[in-house]
Amino acid sequence: VKTAPRQTSELRRRAAEAVAQRRERHRARPRRFGGLWRYFAVIGPGIIVANAGNDAGGVFTYSNTGAKYGYNLLWAFLPIAIALIITQEMVARLGVVTGKGLMDLIRERFGVRWTLFAAVVVLVANGGTTLAEFAGVAGGLGLLGVPLPVAVIGAAALIGVVVMRGNRRLVERIFLALGLTFVSYIVTAFLVPHPDWTTIGKDLVVPGFSHPSSVPTGSYLIDVIALIGTSITPYMQLFLQSSIVDKGTRESDLRLVRADVISGSIFAVTVAVFIVITTAATLFAPSHEYPHGLAGSGVGSAQQAASALAPLVGVHAQQLFAVGLVGASLLAAAVLPLSTAFVICEAFGAERSVQSSFADAPLFFTLFIGILAIGAGIMLIPGVPIAGVAIGTQTLDGILLPILLVFIIVLANDRRLLGRHRNGVIYNVIAVSLATVLAVLTATLVVSTIFPGLIGGG
């Protein structure tokens, strides 16, 4: 309703001038960056999630791979990269088109029973990953001389306080920045005494399915599953979809989301490859110096992993590694219990908010505190092997991943849900192959554990 008397006054002229000036200012912004600005508006979730993947579990698993197998397992990263891109793209597409989280969609599409099953899978996988993060905190702070109980209890308390009443955004950014120190592996790879680039190039593309005869089949399978499980973590998929939903990306920006997801995946895998190369060049000794990869309880294994950075920063390798490890682990250890509790409550329609009281949201707080307490509690058991826990939980992730993958594939093929954005044939072939390969690996692992003599090598 127009109510102000409309007369051309001096001020109206001035206001018009101001509008014109403002427009001029906007126009002054170079046009050719127009597309780039749009990219930055949508970008984020993919890169952040990819970076979050290089957490304690990742760093230990990759270091272990390099130390134990040298360049022998590098070839696995090419299929892993493709599978990671495909999986994340499906999840991102589901988030953009439906505007809903993954657990939400599982509940709406599959009903209560399947949701309960999926929730248990997510709870176990994410609980395990949280445990790995606490292993990372313990290892990182251990390198800096902090006793393990102090580190673990302190971290759990800090996370509780930050999540309940802190400025989570700010803290997330700090942790994220600390986690970026792992990029230093890329630089280090060029400084190590003699990285054999021809061998690296060959091993990256030529699959070598045989494993060193010194490594038993079961152990080899565990390491391969852990490698896949830590690169394509179940919680990354949940987190990616949630953050895309929160951003409210439009369907017309789907191409940009794809670009974000692809660049994020490539970045994550690149860092992973360089961690393997660096640790392989510094730690791998065919003469059985580290025949079992990272070993030892306490901070011994973290020390080994950290020493791979010595060519870059010399005596400060331990500190650099520790800072990165603690940052990445704390970020994930805070986000994991929170997001897990949140998505499960959302799926079951239970009250969920950090702001509500325990009486209002009992399930939410039980899950959040429970995951945190179990993660921290297990690390407090005397003599727990830090690297062993970190890698073991990634194997668990790898075993549970195909289950979640099946849910994602079925959802991504739903015509009612995605319409013209549903999966194409190539997608399904790659995604189903990944799920199948993981399932076969897991089955082989189970069989070879029960009947050690059945499959060769053991």
Binding site: V1, K2, T3, A4, P5, Q7, S9, E10, L11, R12, R14, A15, A16, A18, V19, Q21, R22, H26, R29, G34, W37, R38, A41, V97, T98, G99, K100, D104, R107, E108, G111, V112, R113, T115, L116, S242, V245, D246, K247, G248, T249, R250, L338, S339, F342, A347, F348, G349, R352, S353, V354, Q355, R416, L417, G419
Partner: protein, 456 residues
């Protein structure tokens, strides 16, 4: 041959149900008597087998189909997972009988069943409502449908009457409701049903098909815009879009004004330009300008171009002011009248203008150059004799603030003089707009007080 599936509600179970309950259980069915208002849950249906006239199992229930009616949707058909090929996929509810103890049997021989004609206005309960989110308009929140409550009406119709949103519904779906009840009894507690009546809910589920079906969100649109905004914030993008498609421009504009900045941007991103421009026109110019100011330039100009000239001009003018000044806070919707009018003429002018609620409380008096001379409250106008010139009754010492005043100062002025709005003037005392108390408070209140942040 009896089927192995269970009948809808075994008599034993029902009796326990009744004897075990205290307080207000909605299961009001009384068996064996004259009352025929049996209560059934959808989950019971979905586990039931269908038997033919010879008591042979011919299939199981896949879904229950209702026709949206007022106040309660009516069951019109059953979707069947047939054991044999000759059974139609959907059979009319009229061909089915729920016998004593809730058996589901066909009235007519299988061979004489007619295929059910599909109608567009129909909802499949398990597919479209069960497990989906739904708006509880009484509780003003978004809840998830764990189960649905059906009730047999006297005239033989089966109606959808309630929505189960509680843990008990979840356990029933898992088939362990009795276990749950035993556990709660053990600890000496009741295990209450959490049901809400269908006439107090508004379904929000939307897929590509029901977007076309356009569920009219009648109940939702009657809620307060601030409540709708809170509900909309809890929903996914597509559901949000579906709700906005059904709201009229005025309500949609109010809801957008009440939403947080992120949600505003998300809502706008899902609307087409025409519709977005309509909603922006219906918003107050200052809110519209704030929203447009946050958008990328290209989209902002597209939208302004689609808006009506008058509204667009206002918004563009407001966009010219810096955010953190009185000019950036103010709205150009206010009532200003020439000083020459009488009280009655001013009231007539108000009727003519139909100003919005937030700008009606003060009538500003200006000279022919739009210079601010005084202010009248609505009360002053009404109690004054009709013929009195407003120049005599107006308050001449008007508190006004300059265009470049800081938001904190504006809020301080409003608080000190107990105002609902304060006029904004330029260097020559010309009236440019008003800052209302709610906009001023928004600026100075810590963000956390205004909006509870959503976790993750």
């Amino acid at each position: 041959v009896r089927g192995h599936g269970r009948a809808i509600i075994p008599a034993r179970d029902r009796e326990r149900e009744r004897s075990g309950r205290r307080g207000t259980s909605p299961r009001c069915g009384r068996r064996g008597g004259t009352i025929t208002t049996a209560v059934i849950f959808l989950s019971d249906f979905l586990r039931a087998d269908v038997v033919d006239v010879d008591q042979r199992t011919v299939g199981s229930v896949r879904d229950v189909i209702v026709h949206m009616g007022e106040p309660y949707p009516v069951v019109t058909a059953l979707a069947i997972r047939g054991r044999t090929k000759d059974l139609p996929a959907i059979i009319d509810w009229g061909a089915v009988r729920t016998g004593e103890g809730g058996e589901l049997s066909l009235n007519v021989p299988t061979s004489r069943l007619q295929p059910y004609p599909r109608a567009d206005e129909e909802i499949w309960l398990a597919r479209d409502v069960l497990d989906k989110q739904i708006v509880d308009t009484d509780g003003r929140r978004v809840v998830r449908v764990n189960d649905l409550q059906l009730q047999q009406h006297q005239d033989g119709k089966l109606l959808l009457v309630g929505v189960d949103i509680g843990a008990r519904g979840l356990l029933r779906r898992l088939g362990v409701e009795r276990v749950g009840r035993r556990v709660t009894h053990l600890v000496g507690r009741d295990f209450p049903q959490r049901l809400i009546s269908w006439d107090a809910v508004d379904p929000v589920h939307s897929d590509e098909r029901s977007m076309r079906l356009r569920i009219s969100h009648q109940k939702l649109s009657k809620m307060h815009p601030a409540d709708i905004a809170e509900i909309v914030e809890q929903l996914g993008g597509r559901d949000r879009a579906a709700i906005f498609a059904s709201l009229d421009d005025e309500i949609a504009a109010d809801v957008v004004e009440e939403s947080s900045e992120e949600v505003q941007a998300q809502i706008l991103s899902r609307l087409d330009d025409e519709r977005a421009a309509d909603i922006l026109e219906a918003m107050s110019p200052d809110e519209a300008a704030d929203l447009l100011g946050d958008l990328p330039e290209a989209r902002r100009e597209q939208l302004i171009a689609k808006m009506e000239a008058g509204e667009a001009e206002d918004v563009e003018e407001l966009l010219g002011y810096e955010d953190d000044t009185a000019g950036g806070l103010m709205t150009t919707e206010f009532v200003a009248v020439p000083v020459t009018l009488s009280a009655q003429q001013t009231i007539d002018r108000l009727r003519e203008l139909e100003p919005d609620a937030e700008s009606i409380y003060y009538v500003y008096v200006v000279d022919e150059d739009e210079r601010l001379l005084g202010v009248l409250s609505l009360r002053d106008l009404i109690v004054a004799p009709p013929q009195a010139p407003i120049a005599d009754i107006m308050i001449k010492r008007v508190v006004a603030i300059p265009l470049d005043a800081r938001p904190e100062d504006v809020a301080a002025v409003i608080a000190k003089y107990n105002l609902l709005a304060v006029p904004v003037v330029d260097d020559d005392d010309r009236m440019q707009g008003i800052v209302t108390i709610d906009d001023a408070m928004d600026e100075v209140m810590p963000a956390g007080v205004r909006r509870r942040a959503r976790a993750l």
